[in-house]
Symmetry: D2
Subunit: 337 residues, 4 copies
Amino acid sequence: MIKAGIIGASGYTGGELMRLLLVHPKVKVTVATSRKLDGNDVCDTHPHLRGLTKLKFQNLEPEEVGSCCDVVFVAVPHGTAMYIVPQLMEGKAKVIDLSADYRLRQDIFESVYKLEHKDPREAVFGLPELHPEIAGATLIANPGCFPTGAVLAAAPLASAGLISSVVFDSKSGITGAGIEPSQTSHYPNMAENVQAYKLTTHRHVAEFLQELSRLDSSLTNISFTPHVVPSIRGILTTAHIFTKEKLELEYVRYVYDQMYKDKPFVRVIEGIPSLGAVRGSNFCDIGFEVDHRNNRIVVVSAIDNLVKGASGQAIQNMNIMFGIPETEGIWYAATFP
Amino acid sequence: MIKAGIIGASGYTGGELMRLLLVHPKVKVTVATSRKLDGNDVCDTHPHLRGLTKLKFQNLEPEEVGSCCDVVFVAVPHGTAMYIVPQLMEGKAKVIDLSADYRLRQDIFESVYKLEHKDPREAVFGLPELHPEIAGATLIANPGCFPTGAVLAAAPLASAGLISSVVFDSKSGITGAGIEPSQTSHYPNMAENVQAYKLTTHRHVAEFLQELSRLDSSLTNISFTPHVVPSIRGILTTAHIFTKEKLELEYVRYVYDQMYKDKPFVRVIEGIPSLGAVRGSNFCDIGFEVDHRNNRIVVVSAIDNLVKGASGQAIQNMNIMFGIPETEGIWYAATFP
Amino acid sequence: MIKAGIIGASGYTGGELMRLLLVHPKVKVTVATSRKLDGNDVCDTHPHLRGLTKLKFQNLEPEEVGSCCDVVFVAVPHGTAMYIVPQLMEGKAKVIDLSADYRLRQDIFESVYKLEHKDPREAVFGLPELHPEIAGATLIANPGCFPTGAVLAAAPLASAGLISSVVFDSKSGITGAGIEPSQTSHYPNMAENVQAYKLTTHRHVAEFLQELSRLDSSLTNISFTPHVVPSIRGILTTAHIFTKEKLELEYVRYVYDQMYKDKPFVRVIEGIPSLGAVRGSNFCDIGFEVDHRNNRIVVVSAIDNLVKGASGQAIQNMNIMFGIPETEGIWYAATFP
Amino acid sequence: MIKAGIIGASGYTGGELMRLLLVHPKVKVTVATSRKLDGNDVCDTHPHLRGLTKLKFQNLEPEEVGSCCDVVFVAVPHGTAMYIVPQLMEGKAKVIDLSADYRLRQDIFESVYKLEHKDPREAVFGLPELHPEIAGATLIANPGCFPTGAVLAAAPLASAGLISSVVFDSKSGITGAGIEPSQTSHYPNMAENVQAYKLTTHRHVAEFLQELSRLDSSLTNISFTPHVVPSIRGILTTAHIFTKEKLELEYVRYVYDQMYKDKPFVRVIEGIPSLGAVRGSNFCDIGFEVDHRNNRIVVVSAIDNLVKGASGQAIQNMNIMFGIPETEGIWYAATFP
């Protein structure tokens, strides 16, 4: 059994890691830390885990966590992971960081997050469909939720050098904003509503640029606007992709099928994806139509932001790093309807 | 008192017309027709109207309706209004058609709706903020719900000749799909979901093109993708407007303020509009941010699809046609929260 | 014009008072106070009021408010109103208190709210359908939201001395919990959920007992359990009323019709009430069925908690106190769907 | 591997059986029937199953299904199963019927469902926590969704002979009404609403009576009113239990703990259950408070109507019938949040 530790286990990604890992046939969760909930039952915070675990949150130093685990998931806020990861990397445990701290080149990180980086070490970007080098990695920077769905939506066309510009318009469930109540997450403000935010300045754009320019270095004309919709989970990304030339639907389908044919968690479908069909699962559904009038391909991708957009993908990365089947412990259908 | 008739009063726009007209100080609703509900109480279909009316649905010929009314609202499906309006126009009543039948030039209508037009008469496009000629009209083509919010969002920049291309990404409440249950409107499919549809081929694009090219004849690079979100009412449109030159926020604000300063139902705000603040009201809220990196202005507009996007706007048109204050009977705040 | 002031105008009941009073034909809102938002635009907090008012919140002493108003609405938390009302009562303004402070007999209030009462003055309980003495009152204790719907549901049978016991099982929208975000109102906790709370100890029970025992002094067997459902507004109360004898449906209908035939805001209907048909309106819909097996009448009532359950009822009381039509300014249909 | 067939696999319970069985380590789904979707891909109807199965719906006779399976789940409407089960019982397969046809004594069934029963054979009522005889059964009548949550809520007190009367007030997600769109399930009618229905006459009352009177033959004073709330899944039952004597909380807790201490899927908790903590899982959460004033115990139970209330419980029954661990293939945490 792989012994797994979770640092910062009191939030949604921590809870979701445990939801999946507690019944993962190859994993035993040995430690879950929380500074402020030290000593409390994990199930007081995550009531759905009752009956599956008797773990209590502990307030442990990273070294202590690392020394009793084979893999450590770091689920702390941006700017905090960089103080924890260096201590973990001195031990033998593999590390999967769910924060933004290791996703970007140091100078870009510092410019985007307005923070000095304390640990300019390189990590592998944990998007398994595009990064086979995950298999040999010891430190993974797990992607952001928006980049996961958006990059997978555009990657095949980017890879083929066909994109001239793209507008990503994303609609996210509110769990992306975390477990703490706020005016935005207040039910009377969120229900029956759509809330656009950071219309032009969301920090995830840097990940879009990094990952798509890896596939096509000339591709920089990328716009992104996120929205919150009345949904607990899920991100639907509508990628308005303007192509350099007129493309036929059959060709577009060929390009997507080629890229994803051996990727178990990407489903290229004939209709239009929606959140229901991926809810609670690690799948990314992708569908598209061609708008000949504007040389536009509208690609829609759907993920669960807490699974493929965070904790499920982290476990997918763990599986690959440990040489066990990529699908182990995360091969479930969505909870639909 | 203005005597008002409603043809096709059993659907959502019919119900919404009555919700507003039954307490309009200058209007008396004298007739509400429905072929299939002939003889039934209006309140059996529209339970919120109980206590406000004892009207029964009648199955009357258009001439009969016209002869007892000063104004007739036509709230029937596309392709049906063209058989009703000619008969109404032979009488003295003014006519406001909420269908698509008179919104477009005949040839464009026939191409978009795949129907032969039976009544190639011209109507005034009923978007009051852009069409002062409504005051003298006898036949109004009330705009579609998506065009109302989208055209108002882009009109100031279009009018100033500043737009090079625009992607409208709209998020609509489900009442836009009508009162009849369907798989899309089935709660388990709609809740906790976002459903993109007609990714590249929605018929409202013709109205976008007509109205925006009136303001800037060179503007044809218009893309549109609609979505349904888990909301009963409302349309939030995110207009990704790519401009010919770099624009400063202050200038953009000036352009919008100039166009809408005397328009009581358009509120240009400093933050980002959302559906809650317009729910149930005739307001259109507009806000924006500038993305210098991409020469993009992200303009967000919010309306209630059944009010400013349909029945409220129809009443606004009626007020103007009858020379009474534009705001009469529709000057309510949104039902927020 | 009646000059109206609102003390504590930054919450939901304050916003709702303004939504209705700003377009009330006989009222001018002259002052809206808030200690913590002193100097801020009312519309920054209540965005739906933009365009309808330019009021700013003021931090004024009660005397100052009273001196410039004909009526003052007190919309502050329980335990605070008792410090404000005495100062208001020294002036000439009539006072409508939306808190619990004056609803109960002093000793009961102190026992239920665990607070010493500072102002043991009597007020009229502002449930207009049961309290004709409102017309002559200068101080109204506006009822709680749960008691309004529950008492109206049971009053006719109580008044007829037919009830042996009753279980009120209420389902409320989340605005009943106020404008401040909390774990309960956090969208991921509230959506797709039902949350029972205070299963046996809700403080509103004291109002149920007071009002129903006024109608039938032998009626004390009253149970109440509230729930929050995923709805912004509304309270649906299911009253399981066990009767002393077997009753026929026709007789029950007669009893309800008799009591409410001249009450414009109570609609006794043939089907089962639901929240949609009263949303945003001041109506209370009531329907019922008879369960002969258990000598049970199941009575269902539906109100909007912020309107008939709070601010709309307060205005109804104001109308009666000022001798203007009871329906003035609040005679709207629900915003349905 | 246990070969499983599903008759009537196109509805929600059929989809849910496949969601769970397709990844059950001891089961292989060999056939899924649907008369009207014969030949269609299962995943066209159940899009969340894409990637997990290539099954097509088949239109097979019961005998054919029975002959190729070790267990057959019958997921057809009430009144239809009684024509299918007799044919299945002639083969060797064990049968689990999810309809109402075999849950009640023949005469009661005929009286409640207004149908002549064609197959008066006895089945074991498939509520594993109360029916150990499931282990030896060949035909299981899987309980209704409301009875599962309600009977588990009241069973310990009933079993102890402590109940004098009980009012069950249940709040269900809308999937209980099935996969076909209707006015009730139409999003604009369901969202922001609560819909009470069959206030006094729901057919599940017969199951409540049967199962609770098995535990206490004197207990007949049972009332039930169901509601639909804006939730896809879940049933929260508020059981207002009036006891014969005053009971202390500690004693009530003892009674519940004793009954459920070895039942892995019933979690007796200290707080109040809610739907989120059981969503998508096979758990039934139970909590309670004591109301001394009324000798009332308010017991709240929460289940997922499609899992513990239908398909999950059917699989739990299968596990027991085949002698494999009761939790096999259904031991998952809820998808929370």
